[in-house]
């Protein structure tokens, strides 16, 4: 969490003074008006999926109502409109990521799909027996299993960059872990289970000194942090639309052009070819080479609207506000008797994982749901993280730009009630 909140002279917090109007933001998200179990919805499961602002919902409806057509093939008016909307979405994603060229932006189903694409198209053909892939100890299963599948097939192995008790990667151990056999480094920008913001720039530069490419899983970073892939120096960056206020089923793989060009296609089909005969096929240039079949056009349009929505905020105001809410959550939830917070890295965002002494996370989830509070309970698709802390499951509150300190208070009251019920 960066910086302490500064109180302005009129008593307003610094973010209010800088003009982050959370009540206005909340009005942008229609689902936040509904109630659950007779209580106002307190949605704290944003790391699983974020809610959608009206502008995203409208963009998808508008596309299907007025512009729907297939892309890259029709000469008719609607096809041209749809193609333009799809390619405009690609350009917006390029801008959002700070990529040099829009052909470095591949539309995929989501982060998982992006990682599998890199595993199949980049890693597999280059992987030999005895080679190594370095991942971190705090990875989501989607940044472990695709590499494992490739490693098992080739007799390669996964090595692990460890973390400290507070949930920070031991970057100083990179020197020993990056070897002549390391073919790829794969690391989360932000941990979904702990909220740690990793030093991806340092990791990329250490790997690059040895000529090793780096993939960054940005699924949890995209809704919270400004991203600049060039400054970060990563070779691949993956994100999911639905975690950044866009629709499900659309995501982005950024890849450096020279790497994408050298890669084999992921899936074969229509749209990804230049010429096809029964003897041989030549492929379309990047990024089309990786977009076989009719893509999620409306999803790309919805993602573009989400990027527009997110980009309209001042990043300093947004991150300042989110940091303030997270810091308040650490203090307030941490003060509930019996709570142990899991993940206390110095630099973290948006995620608060915790245990309640003697009470299983699943019971916590059910009981606070009666208060309209949505949190995640379980292993968060990060079993190695659970193993590290010696727990089977945690409860996780994850925040977005529309969450408030009042909602943190409601969660704290809910947790006190959990203790009463199961006491």
């Amino acid at each position: 969490m960066s910086g302490q909140p500064v109180l302005a002279e009129d008593g307003l917090s610094s973010t209010a003074a800088r003009g982050f109007d959370v009540e206005g933001v909340r009005r942008d998200f229609p689902i936040l008006q509904r109630s659950v179990n007779g209580k106002p919805l307190v949605y704290l499961d944003n790391a699983a999926t974020a809610q959608k602002p009206q502008v995203v919902i409208d963009a998808i409806t508008r596309f299907y109502s007025h512009e729907n057509s297939n892309i890259h093939r029709g000469v008719h008016y609607l096809s041209e409109r749809a193609t333009a909307a799809y390619e405009q979405a690609r350009e917006k994603a390029r801008g959002f990521l700070g990529a040099k060229e829009s052909r470095e932006v591949v539309f995929v189903r989501g982060t998982t799909d992006a990682i599998n694409l890199v595993a199949a198209g980049y890693l597999r053909p280059r992987l030999r027996e005895g080679d190594e892939i370095l991942v971190s100890q705090m990875e989501h299963h989607s940044n472990i299993v695709p590499w494992q599948l490739a490693a098992d097939e080739r007799g390669a192995k996964i090595r692990v960059l460890p973390m400290t008790e507070s949930g920070e990667l031991k970057v100083e151990e990179l020197d020993a872990l990056l070897t002549k056999r390391t073919r790829l480094v794969a690391v989360a920008h932000v941990s979904n289970a702990l909220g740690t913001v990793n030093a991806v720039r340092d990791i990329a530069s250490a790997a690059h000194e040895r000529g090793i490419p780096v993939l960054v899983d940005g699924a949890q970073a995209a809704p919270h942090l400004p991203i600049d892939v060039q400054q970060m120096g990563c070779d691949f960056y993956c994100l999911s639309g639905h975690k950044m206020f866009g629709p499900t089923g659309i995501g982005v793989l950024f890849g450096r052009a020279e790497l994408l060009e050298a890669m084999t296609p992921y899936q074969g089909g229509g749209d990804m070819i230049r010429t096809v005969s029964f003897e041989r096929t030549s492929y379309a240039p990047i990024p089309t080479k990786f977009e076989a079949g009719t893509p999620n056009i409306a999803g790309a349009v919805g993602l573009a609207a989400a990027i527009d929505y997110l980009s309209a905020f001042d990043w300093n105001a947004l991150t300042g506000y989110e940091d303030e809410v997270l810091r308040y959550a650490h203090e307030t939830i941490g003060a509930v008797p019996g709570v142990r917070i899991i993940g206390t890295a110095e630099h973290k965002t948006a995620v608060l994982s915790f245990l309640l002494e003697g009470i299983h996370a699943h019971d916590i989830g059910t009981i606070v749901d009666q208060d309209g509070i949505a949190i995640r309970t379980g292993h968060h698709c990060a079993q190695p993280v659970m193993d590290f802390y010696g727990v089977a499951a945690t409860a996780r509150a994850s925040f977005a730009l529309y969450n408030t300190k009042d909602e943190v208070d409601i969660l704290a009251a809910g947790l006190r009630r959990v203790r009463e019920v199961l006491g």
Binding site: I359, H360, A361, H362, D363, T366, I367, Q370, T377, G378, H379, Q383, M386, V391, A392, A393, V421, L422
Partner: protein
């Protein structure tokens, strides 16, 4: 709140706090593992069966209040019963949790009727039924770990 009290009935809270038969038993001849990894419920069930009678039964492990209380009450209910009677209890319990009859067969179920509230919480059905499926697997000598997820 009333729904919560229906789910976490006093007897369930009691068996969660102080589970019965919570130990590895002597001379177990049937053992089965239960694991719902998404929830983090993990138990091991030990049974000693002789001449078709469950002479002793115990369990160890960790899980949520519902899964733990269910394992505790299940072991209490089937101890001393024939395997056929245990199968009958499995069916009655399954009907209570999944069926349309809100009361269940009270005479057959006894204390197990405390789980009637689970039907209102579909996400928790797998917690309540985990130990029962594990019992069935142990009696059938199934070696795979049981999961209800």
């Amino acid at each position: 709140m009333s729904d919560l009290r229906e789910l976490y009935q006093q007897i369930i809270l009691d068996h969660n706090r102080a589970p019965r038969n919570f130990k590895e038993i002597d001379g177990a001849n049937r053992v089965a593992d239960a694991n719902n990894p998404l929830c983090g419920d993990k138990f091991k069930l030990y049974i000693r069966v002789s001449d078709g009678v469950i002479e002793d039964i115990g369990f160890q492990g960790s899980g949520c209040a519902i899964s733990k209380a269910s394992a505790s009450l299940m072991t209490s209910a089937v101890k001393g019963k024939t395997t056929a009677e245990a199968e009958g209890l499995f069916d009655a319990f399954h009907h209570l949790i999944m069926g349309s009859d809100a009361e269940g067969d009270a005479k057959v179920l006894g204390k197990l009727a405390a789980f009637s509230g689970v039907r209102e919480f579909p996400a928790r059905v797998k917690c309540a039924t985990l130990s029962w499926h594990t019992l069935r697997a142990a009696l059938a000598h199934t070696e795979n770990t049981v999961s209800t997820e």
